[in-house]
Symmetry: C2
Subunit: 388 residues, 2 copies
């Protein structure tokens, strides 16, 4: 048992640098920086200036084998997350993978299968939004049955505005071979996870996806998807990177209530005084007449509460690091177990596949078909190697 | 030319009674009640008590031929609207059909074709929401190009809550043979019309529809539809009669701005200072860095305005009656030409057909296939005759 978890930070880009700073600033009391790795040789001087005495590696395998780290976080392009997670676990190193868990489910399934053979090691994923107090409250409300069985949900999440210059920053960004997708793979994984974490995993999806719709990119910058949970329960998911004004509105309708979340800051919770169907069936003809003549005050049938949260950027990420370390130290339950990462990847893949084939795609889709379709796009793009 | 249009009110139920009262109360200055018709003999005494001296008929054909009316409004079950419209026009009587224009496009097309042979007669439809100042303002903004080309739209309209007792009021309500559908045919035609009036007619639709989902009825009480306008432009439409809390939120995203309408009362109009794509392409790497570090104030790129409207129930209907009469009297352009009624019926039919077949359905669907599917449901229900 360790007092502080020594974290290896693989990739000193935007995310890795941020995590290093959180730890150095004491925002993650049960963690310290064990070592840093980056393939860019210029990062060595940066790391040494910022974190003197911390070992620097240009190969993550030497970092894993350095003896200086108990755990790693994989702040590297998405395609690399699964293999890096496996390599860490193989060496007895706890693994926190960045989101998304990978680009295609086949590789994520391999990671999950390997992790399952190492139950003594901690395997988690950086779904920092699960640590957002608002979404934790919603999750607890829904799991606690406060709005009853979910009958419909929708999330319009177009606050991910990105200008062309963002896409032009690096050669792998927004390519099939380098990044493996657009908004579904890079920005929206948070909501793809939260939606399924709170409302469950759907059975199938139909989707319309815009590839290079309003940006000069190969991958998707707009998505409209409809999911089916079975038993008549449906959902809608809309995301885009070209809506400068941006909407973030998440609705969950249950048998006994409704939750509307706006801008990830305000949640309006409405609780019915009895199940909706009982209210419906308990009304006589006279009530119907009163309803239609405006004499029935529907507010008698429910109560509403508005929960207001503040945006606290950074604390979510630091909290996931803290929770990851706590699980290693004393078995504190994980907020985001690594094996949950497959859900978001699977839904993103199914949305791609639905749009490519024009079919309603089961969540139990053929992983080989997805990879074949993805590789066809990588081949056509001609910049990167195909995947297997 | 007449000074006041003498209106024949066919059907003295909830709608017909309301229109009679509006006219009697002077809310429609250019109209008077010419005659009233109802198949229910009990309504004769009601009509004679309320509107003494106004002729009462139990057959609409005798009303049309009475010489007492210049025009009629068809406040009768939806299936009857097209034939009643044709019968009126054949007798030189101007026709205002209630919404929906009919249940299936074949019958509405016949009505439109007949009306086209009578250009001197006024043919309109009671889309009273087109007379809502809010939607008129939005229509003008969009037509005037203020938000540019539309790239996405969505309408969540679940404020149509109806208890079971509403459906149990009469034997034809919420049946395939008597009413021809549920929320798509009865409640949502207003939004199906406004959406297409403002955002255009889509090319195809995919849908999940709940038939008797949360009510004991044969027809739909919940709809989730995704439409495709071509060129990557998509839209979403969600409606239901079982959401007691009810959402009414309409979003339109354009190249140069965005409109968000909430509760049909508040419209937030955001105008970009230049087209979104120009803003995107005009940003250099330095702007991208500032964007990601929160130093770029995106509000510099747009201005927003909130338009607040008041709900004035009744004035919309009276306004459509007034406009219909004005068109008859002096050719004032119609707010809702009768031939526009087919759009809502076509989209409702396409949504049904998509849900029944599991296919993405073109707006140019086979009308015969729709009628065959509808008749199969009427036959199975066993309460009413099939249609042709």
């Amino acid at each position: 048992m360790v007092n502080k978890v020594r974290l290896g930070i693989v990739g000193l880009g935007a995310q890795g640098s941020m995590y290093a700073k959180f730890i150095a600033d004491g925002l993650v009391p049960n963690m310290e920086i064990g070592a840093i790795c980056d393939v860019d040789p210029d990062k060595r001087a940066v790391a040494e200036a910022m974190y003197p005495g911390v070992g620097f590696h240009d190969d993550y395998l030497t970092l894993l084998e350095s003896g200086d780290v108990d755990a790693v976080v994989t702040c590297v392009p998405h395609y690399l997350h699964p293999q890096m997670g496996i390599d860490a676990l193989q060496r007895g190193i706890h693994a926190l993978v960045e989101k998304p868990a990978g680009v295609y489910t086949k590789q994520v399934r391999e990671l999950n299968a390997y992790a399952a053979t190492k139950p003594d090691l901690t395997f988690a994923i950086m779904f920092n939004q699960r640590n957002n107090p608002l979404y934790r409250a919603i999750k607890d409300l829904v799991d606690g049955g406060e709005i009853g069985k979910i009958r419909h949900s929708s999330w319009l999440i177009t606050t991910w505005w990105r200008p062309q210059g963002y896409y032009d920053q690096s050669s792998w960004r927004a390519t099939w071979g380098g990044e493996g997708g657009g908004v579904l793979v890079n920005q929206a994984p948070h909501q793809l996870d939260l939606w399924q974490w709170i409302c469950g995993v759907p059975r199938s999806v139909y989707a319309k996806v815009g590839y290079g719709f309003r940006r000069n990119i190969a991958v998707e910058d707009e998505v409209t998807a409809m999911v089916d949970y079975g038993d008549g329960v449906t959902g809608v998911f809309v995301t885009a990177t070209h809506d400068l004004v941006g909407t973030d509105r998440f609705e969950i309708l249950g048998d006994s209530g409704k939750i509307v979340v706006e801008n990830s800051l305000t949640a309006t919770i409405t609780r019915l005084k009895k199940p909706e169907r009982d209210i419906s069936e308990g009304m006589g003809m006279d009530d119907v007449r009163r309803l239609f003549t405006g004499q029935l005050d529907m507010a008698e049938y429910y109560s509403s509460e508005v929960l207001q949260f503040e945006s606290q950027w950074g604390s979510q990420h630091a909290g996931v690091l803290e929770n990851f370390a706590a699980n290693i130290i004393d078995g504190t339950p994980l907020i985001a177990p690594g094996s949950d990462g497959i859900n978001g990847v699977r839904l993103a893949n199914a949305i791609h596949l639905a749009s490519w084939t024009g079919r309603e795609v089961s969540m139990d889709f053929d992983e080989g078909e997805y990879l074949t379709e993805l590789n066809a796009r990588i081949r056509e793009e001609g910049k990167f190697s195909e995947r297997d």
